[in-house]
């Protein structure tokens, strides 16, 4: 008992130094002005960026929904494949994640460019060049591409535990494919769905790389604004901290709302 507690100490110290204290600093910065005295002005100043905040949440929601729609059938098919194929497919999904995030997004810039690979290809058929980059669609595409594995993996890990005989039992009792998914697979996948939604939504809502590289300056997200308060021309760490704090509170609120909804779904079934 004592040793196991002692083993936790490095972790606790780590969390303290790199999570708890910085979080405390964000709160302190958010509620002070440059002279260090208490103020709520930073929170009021945020109102300028309300539309950016809503755009960030909206884009992240769209990206999360698309990820869910793509990942659900993919994860199900993988979970029912032969075990050798399962591991190969999972590796294939992970491989892009071994390449640097910025490089991956940079590759999309080259693909979507008016002189890029896709437009060149379409040009062969006399189509285009199409406006594929520097718009909202490109930003959402970037989110979906980068964060899709975060949806597939938790869904897969839940689905692979669903006993094949439970699926056969549902078919035996008259389930068509659709009702099998609706009445059995979906409810049993709920824990994976809530993990996946959080894993996609949180990085999407706070990203600044994707929007900067694929958004063309007209689709800035809250992450871009926060970053510019620390590194950019409009240096103001107090306002930046306030925005980070508000974003964090909103995300936590939405997640707890979502989890509540998820639990009720399950609760109603049980």
């Amino acid at each position: 008992m004592k040793t196991s507690k002692a083993l936790a100490i490095p972790y606790i110290v780590w969390i303290l130094i790199f999570t708890i204290i910085p979080l405390g600093l964000i709160v302190v910065f958010a509620l002070t002005d440059s002279s260090g005295s208490f103020t709520l002005q930073n929170l009021f100043d945020m109102s300028t960026y309300m539309s950016v905040l809503f755009r960030s949440i909206f884009f992240a929601m769209i990206a999360t929904i698309i990820c869910l729609i793509l990942a659900f059938p993919a994860a199900y098919i993988i979970s029912r494949a032969k075990s050798f194929n399962q591991s190969s497919l999972i590796v294939l999904i992970m491989v892009p994640m071994w390449i640097n995030f910025i490089l991956r997004t940079y590759a999309w810039m080259k693909l979507l460019d008016p002189n890029g690979l896709i437009n060149n290809f379409l040009g062969l058929f006399g189509i285009g060049p199409l406006n594929l980059i520097n718009n909202a669609g490109a930003v959402i595409l970037g989110m979906v591409y980068n964060y899709l594995p975060f949806m597939i993996l938790p869904l897969y890990s839940v689905m692979v535990k669903i006993d094949q005989s439970v699926i056969e039992a549902a078919q035996d009792l008259g389930s068509s494919r659709l009702s099998l998914v609706r009445r059995v697979i979906l409810p049993l996948s709920m824990p994976g769905i809530s993990t996946g939604v959080i894993a996609v939504f949180v990085p999407s809502v706070s990203t600044f790389v994707i929007s900067r590289m694929l958004g063309g300056g007209t689709n800035d997200l809250i992450g871009d604004i926060i970053e510019s308060q620390f590194l950019g021309t409009s240096y103001n760490p107090h306002l930046g901290s306030a925005m980070a704090l508000v974003l964090m509170v909103i995300v936590l609120f939405m997640m707890s709302l979502f989890n509540q909804f998820g639990n009720e779904e399950e609760g109603a079934m049980i």
């Binding site: 005989s165 035996d172 049993l188 049980i270």
Partner: protein
Amino acid sequence: MKNTIISLRNAVVEYDGVQILKSINLDIVDKQFVTLLGPSGCGKTTTLRIIGGFAEMASGELFFNGVKINNLPPHKREVNTVFQKYALFPHLNIYDNIAFGLRIKKLPEKEIAARVTEMLELVNMQGFEKRSINSLSGGQQQRIAIARALVNRPKVLLLDEPLGALDLKLRKEMQIELKRMQQDLEITFIYVTHDQEEALTMSDTVVVMKDGCIQQIGAPQDIYNEPINAFVADFIGESNIIDGIMRRDFLVEFAGKEFACVDKGFEPDELVDVVIRPEDIKVVPQYQGAIVGVVENCIFKGVHYEISVDSLGYKWIIHSTQSEEIGAIIGMNVTPMDIHIMHKSEA
């Protein structure tokens, strides 16, 4: 008049190039309790899965009430299955598990409630409606699995070793209950097991299988008393199987002696399997015995003693209500009626 409800014709199943079922033909009589019996890997579960729609035949035909249903998906077949591992829905309570099939059929909730209640009574689980699956013992889960299948009023109920995970006493109770349900509901049960006693207890017809082939089909008494070959004899209860030579009709030689028997129609001097049930061997004083041997072991089995005897290198198993001293020399007798002569199996 006995109606055939399910027929398999030349059913072949292959998996990774290996034949699991080697062209079997089987007719299931309506409203019977039919057991597919055999050791693991004999193809009995595969046969059941063909009927349920979960296994595909490489060739062959499956008829249900005379209609070919080879390609009918499981959810459209008028059969329901009780799975080996129960396969209850973990996210649903007991009521919703049983109601599952009826909800898919979009029956009115009132009728669903009536039928679920009726089923809970049938399996003696009244009052468990709101309980979760995880709060049940194995035996209770099995009852719910049976109720969940029967509530759909299938014409045929398929059971895949449903009692395998239960302890002996519970298993015996459930055997009797299953038989009662089958008789009360007047539907066909197709039951898969490797337990010969279970098969004999419940069945109207037993189908003995081995290596993807059907060995024998018959009533339990016929299978037990008149096994068609040494495999069936050995699988259905314990047997002494000895090499013998059929000298002529009604006379067989084994263990170095000639015995009168009731079998005929063999080639002269044909090599045969002689099968004698352990309970059919009488222990007598040495000088009265047709066969004489040394007691090697004597184990108490509850109802009887199991005595191992060595006679000139032949090993005999005897079931007797009386124990014998280890090392004692005893005589053994067997009546002509109890000597079963079988052609050597081809294998």
